[in-house]
């Protein structure tokens, strides 16, 4: 088993989101909430205390007609690798409730271990983490629709996108029963990927040159996973968080906004 473990290459699951295709419909958000038993309240208008593992933001270029342009940008957890797995949230967690898995590249969140100090939320530059201010209350009968593969959270813990890790667990189960240790690309896909009607989200292993994500984003593993595709960029690239979610856009202002440029800053970026 040990020998076989050595033979299985470490995965680095990641996502490519094509912002030119994204229509901002929010199907990914809805699919995510249903898939992951994400709690909601009667009044969700206060976005400071609502929970959305996947969140679609809208960007504008701030110009007037006819140059006005808008771009929708879905934001899951970036599953930062940073340097050697020291993701911002992982390194601050005093409870080891969140960790970086070197075999899958997924940043986990263990709800039963979290005690709700919210350091990780302060550390996360992407606002990808959410705090449960209340126990979830499901509308009558809806608890029967909850997924048994994802444990519901309780009041006082932090939660975030897990790249639908339970789907990986189930896919691995199937592979084990069939005597395999490797998954096919289509065996493990996140809920948002499958829900996107525009096909804007692509998911797969960035380490596997056969997977679409690595073909499109062309991550340069020697240089912190920077995309070699000139249209690809990552959010806040300069922070060195080495996120595993890549965005594609043919529009320069979007790419610049993704890296949070200030207005009068020089044009040169890293792409």
């Amino acid at each position: 088993m040990k020998e076989q473990h050595k033979n299985t290459k470490a995965k680095k699951y990641g996502m490519v989101i094509d912002l030119d295709k994204c229509t901002g419909c929010g199907a990914c958000m809805a699919a995510c909430m249903a898939e992951n038993n994400v709690p909601f309240k009667k009044d969700e208008s206060n976005k400071l205390d609502s929970i959305t593992w996947m969140r679609v933001y809208s960007l504008t270029n701030g110009k007037k007609f006819p140059e006005a342009d808008i771009c929708y940008i879905p934001r899951p957890c970036m599953h930062c690798e940073a340097h050697n797995g020291h993701a911002p949230c992982v390194s601050v967690c005093p409870a080891t409730a969140t960790d970086y898995n070197r075999n899958t590249g997924i940043v986990s969140q263990i709800y039963t271990r979290c005690f709700g100090c919210r350091y990780c939320m302060a550390a996360c530059p992407y606002h990808a983490r959410y705090f449960n201010w209340w126990d979830p209350v499901w509308p009558d009968g809806m608890e029967k629709y909850l997924s048994p593969n994802v444990s519901p959270r309780m009041r006082g813990v932090v939660e975030k996108c897990s790249f639908c890790f339970h789907r990986h667990q189930l896919a691995m189960n199937k592979a084990y029963v069939e005597g395999r240790r490797e998954l096919e690309e289509d065996e493990y896909q996140t809920s948002c990927t499958q829900a996107c009607p525009a096909g804007a989200i692509i998911f797969g292993d960035l380490n596997n040159p056969g997977h679409a994500v690595s073909q499109i984003a062309k991550p340069d593993h020697k240089h912190g996973g920077r995309p070699m595709n000139p249209h690809a960029f990552r959010l806040l690239e300069r922070l060195g968080t080495n996120p595993k979610v890549y965005y594609l856009s043919s529009r320069e202002w979007v790419r610049r906004a993704g890296d949070n440029y200030i207005k009068d800053e020089g044009k040169q970026g890293n792409h």
């Binding site: 088993m1 075999n103 263990i110 994802v150 444990s151 189930l170 189960n173 199937k174 069939e178 240790r181």
Partner: protein, 254 residues
Amino acid sequence: MSTLDDKAGETVEQVETTKSSEKEQKNREWGIILIFFVIGLVGSLAVGWLVFPKLLYSKKKQPVDFNHVVHVAAVEDGCESCHYFREDGSFSGVPKLAQCVGCHEEAQGENPEELKFVEEYVTKGNEVPWLVYSRQPDCVFFSHASHIKMGKLDCVTCHGHIGESTHSRVYEENRLTGYSRDIWGKNLAGLKKNTWDRMKMDDCAECHAELKAEGKTIETLPWPISWMPRPYEKPASSQVRVHIQKDACFVCHK
């Protein structure tokens, strides 16, 4: 002056007599304290070790008394005949009624438990509300596939010799947590003789962490399973080395 001295002597004597009586009284007090301490200690131990567990765990009977021995003898594939893997890799766990109906459409014998099963569940089409001894909290992801198919572990390692039981044992439910007593373990002192005595996270971690050091196999572990061979257990050489890292929380959690 002399009168004063005399008086002083008297008072000294008096003080001495009172001192000795005080000593006796103090000893007696200590004795009483000791007696009460012992009574209190024994009492609280008795409450904690005998009364509290009885209060904490409710005893429930399985809806139907199940005889594993008869069934294991009747089927060909051992445990996997009824507790099988589905095609999607999930584990079936406790069989559903549909599976039992395959043989028990009608009562096969005169056993009152079987008659009860057929009458109350098969003919009425109701699922049997089995009480699952090994039910884990919902934050736990346990992959039977990885342990049985890849790790080549035996059912016995975690579930004990349930296949040799002729009656369903009493299901003890923790009134506070709602989980089976099999999870926390029967031993009040927390001692563990067999791998199947407990099913807490520590018990999973024990196997995974002990084998973390490279080169260690399950044979070298100071566990009963390594020196208590069972006829239906696979040889120890087929047992696995389990590899785990600190970053593996998401392996068993969901």
